[in-house]
Symmetry: C2
Subunit: 405 residues, 2 copies
């Protein structure tokens, strides 16, 4: 009978994890590497900075020469050269001398500090200084950020904007990353039509899953293509077989056809292997997963909210880890502002509005109520061993934002 | 003198906010609307669901007919029709009758509940039921999600995946959104070279800002084009004037040329208006902003960490709000694991590693140390009225992830 024996969520997740695959790797220009995942360690080709560098516009000096200088007790030095950004000076600094220097320029030989321009006045080559500096002041020492030959980032690092800067500084103009997984979304359901402002035929319903699931896949670093098929075994089988040749992951939505059970799972059973079908969660109980042609297939509900939750619970981690990026739910603690009933033996993902202190679940939470996902910013998780919570109890919360790529 | 009079951060932010602009709007297909911002209210063209809909595969029944049915006391009904997904039945249900119904199909006239298939057996048109249902059970009532004519989303809403689903369900196949701002990044600095694994000329430094600032602009919903110019007044002026014709926002990095002050600000002063130059923050003190040809220009430091912080503090909000999306720092409280010194009169943005309870600042935090941004996941904010914190003090923390588009 349909879903008569439900898997536990932990068993279902383990079955998916046991079948985790990685995408292949590819080398791409560093400029395109934002939000990709490193498939190589980054070993620096350079020191950064490559030399002792001035951190200010000012004068390279020998610090000792400035000791005691103040507004009331100025000292004078002789300017012997100037160094612009991108330039250098071959001159060596000796006592009582100074070299005009730009931010970013190499400190000349002999100097060990930079005095900021605003603490000086100058008259031709005579420099009057009104402040002292300590050795090393306003100097960024060679290799203070990166040492040549050092491993500065490891394989499997997610490349944010700051990692891009570090990789570039290490001398990489291209980088080896995991490929984006290619996902095929197969939307099934004879009742579905595209969005239209015109009146819709009796018994037809606008399909929203093709938009939400596409956006969620993109929020997981994947590339997604969508196709639509009717509720027949033949159509679904052809679509899944096709997809299993050209895509890394297949996701279906809907597919409950009258009198014949879930046609999508029948197809998976016919041409591949069902890992599980039916998990003790709410929403999203009818979730299935399987392997077809060595590719993972997730079979989601047609109900929009169930499908979104199924993506979050089962597909997101798989897509992240396929790209070498570790994923775990980031569970935080909040105080529940309402009583929440639940059933023993079932894990609930309750849509909620949470802030830094509190969580308040959205009241209308049928699995077709998209507005409940729109109102919410988080899930309250109710473990299968809990019968719900009282108002004021501390609950487990996962913010939607913490799930994004 | 250079930066001798520093603006307060609040005054600088107010000057930017006073010059806030909005992008124009455009109509795009709903499938492309993910992570855009609504420039119109969404008024639904339809009820959703458009009819009382079956939430299960099962049998449409009159609930009263099932009362008392159980495993030990089965009842029988007569099956008079079947409704697949996308189909409907013109038959009216009367007592002791049932209609086979698919998930998503319209409830036939007369019926008021759906009994799940697994609680039944059938023999031709004779249905044996082993469970009872209450009126409304397994029925998603017409318009429970969306009512036709109702405003379901307001202008200025950020479109996440769930909003895409809601907008589609309301009948919109296209949607009016704010255009992405076009940003021109002008990288200045005679010392800069592109990343290379080969040895670099003396006095030259790899430019990383063009990668980090590009990625940060993308993380703010913007489109960015980058150009490089040398440190001359003429080159910088031409680049800024050009950019002010074709772009919504200009960002420069670097531009401190020896003996002539900051050439970029000299250009802004020459062809436009300087809003401020020099703000009492760390890192990022030399930040400037101005208006050229009615376009906002931000002048960032060449120092990579200073430039990233300047983006976060000054440019991010401007770019968000340009697209109609409200932005405020989301400041949370954490316990500091280390003592942090600071100076009165200066606001510090201290790179830190924070979790759900604690914040620990990164020790090496020169404004050129990109690794300090790579190690960090957050800023600890030290207000200008604070002289720093002791170990164990509660501090203000902004997570980097909370800044993203």
């Amino acid at each position: 009978m349909f879903l008569s024996k439900l898997d536990s969520i932990s068993n279902a997740l383990k079955l998916i994890s046991d079948n985790q695959k990685l995408t292949e790797v590819e080398e791409i220009p560093i400029v395109e590497a934002h939000k990709r995942v490193l498939a190589e360690d980054i070993i620096s080709f350079h020191d950064s900075p490559p030399f002792d560098k001035s951190a200010m516009d000012g004068f390279a000096v020998i610090a000792k020469d400035t000791f005691g200088a103040s507004q009331s007790n100025p000292k004078t030095l002789k300017i012997i050269d100037s160094i612009g950004a991108g330039d250098f000076s071959d001159k060596s600094l000796t006592n009582e001398k100074a070299i005009l220097i730009a931010t970013g320029a190499p400190i000349p030989k002999g100097a060990n500090a930079v005095l900021m321009k605003e603490f000086t006045t100058k008259n031709r080559d005579e420099l009057t200084i009104y402040s002292q500096v300590t050795p090393g002041e306003n100097v960024s020492p060679k290799s203070e950020d990166i040492k040549k030959g050092e491993k500065i980032l490891s394989k499997n690092t997610f490349i944010r904007y700051q990692e891009m800067g570090l990789i570039a500084s290490a001398g990489y103009d291209s980088v080896v990353v995991f490929k984006k997984p290619k996902v095929k979304l197969i939307v099934t359901g004879n009742e579905l039509v595209d969005p239209t402002k015109e009146e819709i035929d009796k018994a037809k319903i606008i399909n929203s899953n093709k938009y939400t699931i596409k956006a969620m896949a993109e929020d997981s670093g994947a590339i997604i293509q969508t196709t639509y098929v009717g509720d027949s075994f033949k159509e679904v089988k052809e679509a899944i077989l096709d997809a299993s040749n050209d895509y890394d992951v297949i996701i279906t939505t809907g597919g409950t056809a009258i009198s014949e059970g879930d046609v999508v799972l029948d197809v998976v059973d016919d041409i591949g292997e069902i890992l599980f079908h039916g998990v003790s969660i709410r929403p999203g109980k009818p979730i299935g997963a399987g392997i077809v042609n060595e590719k993972m297939i997730f079979t989601f509900s047609g109900q929009p909210v169930a499908a979104m939750s199924q993506f979050d619970i089962f597909a997101r981690k798989y897509l992240f880890e396929m790209q070498g990026r570790h994923f775990d739910f980031h569970i935080t603690k909040r105080q529940s502002q309402l009583k929440i009933p639940s059933s023993l033996g079932r894990t609930d993902f309750v849509r909620a509005v949470s802030d830094d202190n509190y969580a308040k679940h959205v009241l209308n939470r049928g699995s077709g109520i998209i507005r409940s996902m729109v109102e919410a910013n988080s899930y309250i998780i109710i473990d299968e061993n809990d019968e719900g919570y009282q108002k004021g109890d501390i609950v487990d919360v996962i913010f939607f934002d913490s799930l994004l790529w």
